[in-house]
Amino acid sequence: MITTLFRFLAQNKTFLKAKSIFSHIRFDIYRRLFKLRYNTAERITTTKSLLFLLWGIKGQFVLAILIPIVLEFTNPFFVSSLSSTWFKKFGVTVPDGSDYITFLASVIGVGGVFIGLYYAAIISVCGANYAKVPNNIRELLAKEQEGNAYMRNLALLTFFSVCLLAIHIVGRKPLILAIPLVLVGVGYMILGFVRLCARTFRLFDPTILSGTIIKRLQQSLRQIQVGGYQWIDPTFQAHFHKVAQDDIDRLIAVSNLAADEEMHLSGKPFANLCKNLLIFLRRYEKVKKSIPTNSLWYEQRNVHPDWYRTSDTETSVAYETASGLRPKLESDPKWVESAILPIVKLCLEISIKEKRYAIVKELLIYLDIYVQRLAEEHQVEYAFSQIGEIFSWCEKIIFVKEENLVAKEPLEHMQICELLAMMPSNALLAYMLSIEHYGQEAIRLRISHIKWKSEKSIYKAGFALHILPQLEWMRPILEFEEKVEGGLVSPPWYLQELITQQEVENFRTAMICFCEKVSDIYKQIIDAESSTHHPWLKAVIISTESEYWNKFNYHINTLNKIWDDLNSDQRVEGLPWPSLDIDELMKKCRQRDKELLELMSEEKAILSLISRPESFPDFAGQFLHTVGEALFFAMCDNEFEMVETLFQRYLGCSLLQFEKLRSKDLGTDWQNLNNLKIAAAPLLDLMDISGYVYLLSDYHDAPLLKEPIVKAWDTYLSEALGSQRLQYIAGIVSLSESGIEIEHRSTLRHRWKRIIQEQLRDVKREEVDYGTRVSYILSEPKTVPVHDSPLVRLFARNLDFLFYDGIDIFIAKYIRQREDGENLDFGSKRRREFEEQIKREENRGATDEESQI
């Protein structure tokens, strides 16, 4: 009915004119109401500022009050005795007219002087620091809240005194009660003036004014988010955009002032300003999902529509008036960030340049928290682009190109590098925390809370920012549907699917960022470090990147589950669902993992040649350990390429590490002996791995697998000192295993042994009949492994009691096969039993074959 009526009336020019006039009147009323509300809010803020000021002087104030109160208690006695001779003796009487006037006049005089003095102080501050600053900053000084509140109250008191005086002049008697009231007021003002003057000195630092600007920005933000006064009205949105734009301009001006070398403010004051800005930005990112994406709060730019995509009505009008189609406005949702982040960049650059490392670290922590917020709000792409930006800000200054290798790096540079490199990991963790609340069920629940007729509802449902455009598109058409049908026809599963599709799109982008973009960022910074010869910084990044991939691999199952959940219920045909090949992504991640191991083994070689200060982490040791582990698992998985790439360097680095640890002279013999046993650990690891490769090569039936290991050892031992080296190794092994104590890092080697045991459980086994007597003793039937390799059979025979390890294999299969290694003594632990066992196993295999023939 109403629709028909409106449709009917819309044909009438007068109705539309009246509607337009009514809109203007409505806007005028809202404008006035807004002004009223705004003024009230400002007064409350001002009062709060005054209270804050008073709170600061409460001690003096209470004291100043207490004394008159104590006097007041004794007042009745004084009043009754006021005319007694005792008082007259002290001259205390009811004040006469002239005294009263003098009292008030002095109050007025004090008030006037204070007002004059305050503004004189402000003017001197202006003259000294604000003379050459833009007008908008001087305006801030004029609007400074605390001072203004004080001045207003002082003026009130002064005027109050003037009024009292005026009343007395016209013939009224002195008002006794006014005397203590004025006295209290004057007390406030005199004590407060001291504090206010002290504060005026702080105004020499213009960054102090940024607090007021940020407060105003927050006020504007409150107005334009859902629930703010007239938040949906474009006129109000545009107004607050203008206010915020002015405030941001002021902030830029203040930051430029702070960056000015002559001002000497580029240290802590500038850093505090940046910290406050980053805190504001963090809040802003959370609030953004409550702001309509087409709000005029965002900066607007013109976009011209396609003629053939535009509605008939619009094209008809455009054609009739020959005016063409009007451009559509598109929002720039990052205008605040684009304006504020360069301020932080400026501060960061200045601080690094001037070696204010504490400030740099602090700012990087704040930036990291900001980036985490972006990830939490599912703006992962933007978060990673910001990380890339932050890297590039620091890169230019920290990675200064050096001709020679930088053997010693400032510790702060290392810390800065670590903070930078940790950003992707922290972003990933922040995203992981929030993504759990964005599955299908959560979407369904949120949709059920939306009232499509309400403009507010979609912003209050708790959807992330990237869903808003979809919700904003859906709301009017679903409202249309409700109006036409009297209720919603589109079923919840359909709405859920439309929203899930957007969620999947965002998730896909996030996954690409976590796998590909992060690699690019790390690669970029590692390349920069390589070209500028900063091995320590490169080691920090490599180590942190390795940590990132470890975290990512830990979370990949959760991410997979979420992806499956989001793609689980697709009913609408033709809906463009984004595709993501997770296997392909994982392949890329594994590739990067390999590259990282190569980098580690390269870097390890360089770092072994540089002496490490105590305050630096032992990256060389860490990388050697990591490469060793990767090598072992590559052998287990029969990855020839990886083994070939890593082993040569691993051998070299293990021997270097041994030499490095061994060279330390500790004074006493037993200490040196202990040190030697510890230093032998990398050597034993190397021999252990080198031995296992024989076993695994047989197990996988891949003779090629052991080739790189044999080749590397051959090369090492074929040099002039080869035989001596071998003897030396035998001596070290013998010595390190001579004691009764457990060898250093033997737990790790034992772990490898357990892994090998587990792998050998896959070897085919067959039952052996030992007769009834033995079967009676054994609870389970006795089995033996079936394999072509005697070595595999030997190791797999009794998996619960394996007495031999990789070192035994290496000695038997490699060293004893050499002419110069046949008679070497590797100590009591490495006896010839193992070799005999192998021979026995080989013979057993030959006998079996013969019997089969």
Binding site: R7, I477, E481, E485, V489, P491, Y494
Partner: protein, 322 residues
Amino acid sequence: MKNHKYESPNPLKNPRVARHFRSLSREIDTNLSAHMFFQDVHIAVMPIGGRFSQEQDFSVEIQVSSEHESQVIAILQSLTDSDLFGKSDFKQLLSDVVNKIALYLASGGRSIYEIIRDKENENAWRLYSFTDKRLFRAFGKCIQIIPKADRHLWEKSYVIIPKEDIWEIAMPEVLGGFRGYRSIFKKLSRFSQIVPSFLMDEMSQQKWPTYFNVKNYEKEKNLFVAKTTARWGWHMRSSGLRIWTEFYGMYRFITFDWAKACLREHIIKELNQLFRRLQIDAEIVVKGLPTAREILKTRQQMCEGKITFNEASKRCSMSRVE
């Protein structure tokens, strides 16, 4: 296809009523929404020319005794403009008849026919369509008052015929009946399609009033049309794709198919009732076309997400191809 001329056994009596009044004919309505709605309502209520994409399933049967067969054919032929159909083309004939009746119903919400008997055979009938304007009912009679301007054409000023000689068919009640349909049509015809006339005037003077918001006007216009035709589920020829979801668009397409199925079933039911009234032992049975009940069931399944939009469309429509 076999077409042959069906020879009428007996000459007809002259119709008594005046078919139309030129003086009362309205100018062709230029309102685009109303015109499109009218076209969409009557087109392909039955498959055009009896041809349907799922031809093998579609059949039309007439259960009639041989003595009444020629009577039924004659009545149906009189409802079309052509006499080229016979028993062998019954599918085509009935499709043409239903579409023709639907055309009359779509233009005014009801259609009225004079039942004319043969001159010689009182048990043979023809139907003669005529305008429902100036037609009144009183004392079991129908009185047609002919406007002055048309009297010279029809050579009479009024016609009185017994109610028994009139066959009237109106829009089915489930679609709002005669009054409901007229109301829709009136509402749609009331407003011009593009912009209000005053705006056209101002635009012709190269003026653009600031108080006129094109976007809002467009939105209100679409809302009005969609709400007015909600019972029929008219899809507004997909022009609303930007103002509703794909689901709701499909919902309206299917609802419109349902409305047309209701119309088809109603026309066939009325024809069968006419045969009974004329004591002709005949019944028309149409098979293989989606029934109104089936369409509603399909729509429900689509709402529950059990079938895809394409599947729903395929099941309900005669014109949309999968």
